[in-house]
């Protein structure tokens, strides 16, 4: 077959073609499941489409969706909420994840159980986790308000989900609970790859625990933490189910991220062209954020 096409894959000058041929199925698959929907999305964002239809005639190309988007206060508010959520949840997850990983990296009785418990939230499906937290933060009968009353922090039930500030924190806590085990597992893997000799030498030199963490643990964890940071950030950026089930983006759009805005515009208001424009902008922001974070990580090594 190769000879019929005039190819001789045994020749050194054409050996690289074998690599391309072997890669072709995977590349085609990726193109089909990632590139094609992306093209459709970009194409839709450049049309005034309310309800799309596969095979339907194209509408004239317009930048109207983007013009409307950049002049919409709702879009800028969604960007701000997304940024706040990304920073809060990523920081919270990193702090909780690294702390728990350091804890279970030590030898103590029940360490195995502690490690399983640490990873448990990661194993719980998102929707189930949100249902549990929805009851914890329930404004009429919830555990959290009950606890606050019992501790004397308040004398009435707190409307967690129907108060903008409280809703944001309820959402952040839920997402941190769901996200920190991933950081823990990644950090624990990183911690176990650090040679014990480094710590022994530092102890001989009189380094304190904080100094050992600052000058040995943290620098050696940076490659793993860099990748973890990117993955957690992207997860918060695109997460939909937790926000949708817990707050639905409300109240008063205080938890409406770009993903929720995309969904509402598409399936709530049937403005698929506009929703695609939000989706495309979200993608661009994600790509830039990832490139910035990954681009910086080698320098921090």
């Amino acid at each position: 077959m190769a000879k019929k096409l005039g190819l001789d894959l045994a020749r050194p000058s054409q050996q690289h073609l074998l690599g391309y041929i072997l890669l072709a199925p995977a590349v085609l698959l990726v193109a089909a499941i990632i590139i094609y929907p992306l093209i459709i999305s970009v194409d839709l964002s450049l049309q005034n489409v309310k309800m799309p239809r596969i095979g339907a005639a194209r509408k004239p190309v317009t930048l109207g969706n983007y013009e409307k988007l950049f002049t919409s206060p709702e879009f800028w508010m969604a960007c701000w909420v997304t940024l706040k959520l990304v920073v809060t949840v990523t920081l919270g997850s990193l702090i909780a994840g690294i702390s728990t990983a350091l804890l279970v990296n030590n030898k103590f009785r029940g360490r195995k159980i502690a490690r399983v418990a640490m990873a448990l939230p990661w194993a719980v499906p998102e929707v189930i986790a949100v249902v549990i937290f929805a009851w914890i933060f329930d404004s009429s009968f919830g555990f959290m308000s009950w606890l606050f009353i019992k501790l004397g922090l308040t004398d009435q039930m707190i409307k967690w989900i129907s108060t903008p500030g409280a809703a944001f924190w309820a959402l952040s806590i839920t997402m941190i609970w769901k996200g920190f085990p991933f950081v823990s597992i990644m950090t624990l893997a990183g911690l176990q790859s650090i040679p014990a000799d480094f710590y022994a030498a530092a102890k001989v030199d009189g380094a304190s625990a904080v100094q050992r963490f600052r000058w040995i643990t943290l620098p050696l964890l940076m490659p793993i933490l860099g990748v973890t940071l990117v993955l957690v950030t992207l997860w918060v950026f695109r997460d939909f189910s937790i926000i949708k089930v817990l707050t639905g983006g409300g109240p008063l759009k205080s938890t409406q991220t770009l993903s929720i805005m995309t969904y509402d515009q598409a399936f709530g208001f049937f403005k698929f062209g506009y929703a695609s424009a939000v989706g495309v902008i979200t993608l661009i922001i994600c790509v830039i954020a990832s490139m910035l974070m990954l681009g910086r990580s080698p320098k921090t090594l």
């Binding site: 239809r53 095979g55 404004s139 409307k159 409300g250």
Partner: protein
């Protein structure tokens, strides 16, 4: 000879198999029917009965009855239609079919009705199914809200069953209590969904809006929100929520469950509440009355139609199924099995109260809602109902959170509604 017989037998077997397969290919047909009501106590049984009747009359034809949750129903249907794979039998809420009809995805049923000489005069809520001068669907349910109450809670608070807003408010105030003194209210006067989607939020809010004589638009589709009546309606709703007379941040399902378990004194809801009431801890104590807030919320609920892009043979089968559903027999069963008010004027509902004791009340509330021209979908905002609902929900939430004056809020809603309508 032996070889010839063997060959002939084999040929005959193959021929018979091919014939059977060919016949099966002609006869076998599966119609896709997606609904959110498959597991509903009464409605699910009614649908299955209709499907069985249809299948018995159409040998080899099956209906694949699949459930999609109501919360994700519009999303799923949008995806199916957009992907060119719509269900043959189209079941939609009456506030969402318009978008599908506007895209030409719903078959015009006028020729089918004409062909069979079916007169839709007097069919409750059928006007809502007219879109762009065509019949896009058949109305399945036109209802009126009822008021369910817990007589024990009312008696303990020393109040009568309310018959107007003032009495309703007084009863709600008297029955909202912290029973064990822990600082947490355990029993509420009434209950409304204050979280979740805009559709249910607006329906609950409409109780107070209608009772104050207000509505979103007039019959010509002009936005009529900035009125003294609407200010009064929003004030009433604000009073109920701000005074904590209803639990907050709950879905309608949670509120119904709380009521059924005896934690809420009064609940304004549609006929479907009865199914939940029967399963609750206080099931044997709960009663139903004509709503204190009048005219009752009501109107069209859900519709049945057919996808426009299926084959003519499939359209005929779907139409046959729709005819089964519309038949007087099944319209009667809509009352006896599903416990709902049938839209057909020909439905014989005599004696239904023997199996559904509150049925006369359902008819009364349905007629009261119809007489007042009540519908949940405002004329002139049908296509933008999702966006309009979300906007109203947010502005009302803003009113509650920031303690805004309803007089200012109606001005904002009026302006935003006009902008949405203008596109």
């Amino acid at each position: 000879m032996k070889h010839l017989v063997k060959k002939a037998t084999t040929a005959a077997l193959v021929a018979s198999m091919l014939c059977t397969t060919a016949m099966t290919a002609v006869q076998a047909e599966t119609l896709r029917f997606i609904s959110w009501q498959t597991d509903d106590g009464g409605m699910g049984d009614w649908w299955r009965d209709a499907i069985a009747t249809f299948e018995a009359a159409h040998e080899g034809v099956k209906i694949e009855f699949t459930k999609v949750e109501r919360a994700s129903y519009a999303d799923s249907m949008t995806t199916l239609f957009a992907g060119g794979q719509p269900p043959h039998i189209v079941h939609l809420a009456s506030f969402e079919y318009q978008t599908f009809a506007e895209n030409g995805w719903m078959e015009n049923l006028d020729p089918w009705l004409k062909k069979d000489g079916i007169d839709m005069t007097g069919w409750a809520g059928q006007d809502t199914c007219r879109w762009n001068d065509e019949t896009a669907c058949i109305m399945l349910l036109y209802f009126g809200f009822m008021m369910a109450y817990n007589p024990d809670i009312l008696a303990e608070a020393g109040v009568e069953v309310p018959t107007n807003y003032e009495e309703f408010l007084a009863a709600a105030r008297a029955t909202t209590k912290d029973l064990n003194g822990d600082g947490i209210t355990d029993q509420f006067g009434t209950g409304h969904e204050t979280s979740g989607g805009a559709g249910q939020y607006l329906t609950e809010l409409l109780n107070y809006v209608l009772s104050a004589g207000a509505y979103w638009t007039n019959k010509e589709g002009k936005v009529t929100i900035d009125t003294p009546e609407m200010i009064e309606g929003l004030t009433r709703y604000k009073t109920i929520i701000k005074e904590g007379l209803s639990p907050v941040d709950m879905s309608a399902g949670d509120v119904r469950k709380l009521f059924a378990d005896g934690k809420i004194a009064m609940r304004l809801d549609g006929p479907w509440l009865y199914g939940t009431m029967k399963k609750g801890a206080a099931a044997d104590r709960l009663k139903i009355a004509f709503p204190a807030l009048t005219p009752p919320v009501g109107g069209s609920s859900n519709v049945l139609g057919m996808a426009s892009e299926i084959s003519d043979e499939q359209k005929q089968l779907v139409w046959d199924f729709i005819k089964v559903v519309m038949s007087p027999d099944f319209q009667r069963k809509y009352a006896t099995v599903a416990g709902n008010t049938p839209p057909s004027p020909k439905a014989d509902v005599s004696g239904v109260e023997e199996s559904v004791p509150h049925f006369p009340l359902l008819i009364k509330t349905q007629k009261a809602a119809a007489a007042a021209g009540v519908d949940r979908i405002p004329t002139g905002l049908e296509i933008q109902y999702g966006e309009f609902g979300k906007m109203v929900q947010e502005e009302v939430q803003r009113m509650l959170i920031q303690d805004l004056d309803p007089a200012d809020v109606v001005k904002t809603i009026q302006a935003k509604a006009e902008a949405i309508q203008a596109g």
